[in-house]
Amino acid sequence: MTTATNIATTQVYRVWIKATPQAIWDAITKPEWTDRYGYTGLAEYDLRPGGAFRMVAGPAMESHGFSGPMVDGEVLEADPPRKLVQTWRLLMDPELEAEGFTRLTYEIEEGEGGVTKLTVIHDVEGAPKLAPMVAGEADETGAGGGWAWILSDLKSLLETGKPLAG
């Protein structure tokens, strides 16, 4: 059993996906893709420094009783299809919202044989409630498996055309 004190303030996740950097960039930034994997939701990005970011509940989330914006933030750096740096705040719970904005970085690097390396760095300093959640520690309570699960699902979607079952 882990406790929140074990969670570092920077979390790093990496996955190799057989897809182009552009396909991965689109899957992160375009609503028609973001609604198909992980927690789902429709991404709205103004992809320039200072631009707004929102993740709004899509049909799948609405069927679970959620509506409106679920995550918000600001774009800090957008270098398609290589690097995206943004702030990120979860709005689905007042306590999580009160922890404020965290910093999220996506790095996309083309490798050999059509395989692309995606690295997600989530700096969760000052967000002790969010940290275990995005680390997937609340998976058993039905809160999902955090970044590891999101990236596993994204890989499945891009490589097979389908997200993971269930």
Partner: protein
């Protein structure tokens, strides 16, 4: 060698599992910190870390002059999602339900 082969090979060694356990306890450590917990040369620890990095279980990042090592849980999640789930989900959830029930009545 497939990605899964690399993960299983990396995990099939007590020193490498020990390193992963240390990173699970506290992430983002330097080679010097990790080395101090093992009766092994710096070169030996580096070799193990390299194997863990090749398998994707450890990701290293520069922070100023230091190189920090992070545990990457995604490869294990992939194995879990792709085939452990397939065989065990029903049994595991039944066991989890039983555990909850026992703990509540204890």
């Amino acid at each position: 060698m497939t990605d899964d082969d690399r993960v299983f090979k990396a995990l099939a060694d007590p020193t490498r599992r020990f390193l992963l356990d240390r990173l699970f306890e506290r992430d983002g450590r330097t080679l010097t910190e990790l080395e101090s917990e093992l009766q092994m040369t710096r070169f030996g620890v580096m070799k193990h870390l390299r194997l863990l990095e090749d398998a994707g279980l450890v990701v290293s990042r520069r922070s100023g002059r230091e190189k920090l090592h992070y545990l990457n849980p995604v490869p294990i999640r992939l194995i879990h999602d792709r085939w452990i789930d397939k065989y065990t989900e029903r049994q595991v959830s039944a066991l989890a339900d039983l555990k909850t029930e026992l703990e509540e009545t204890a």
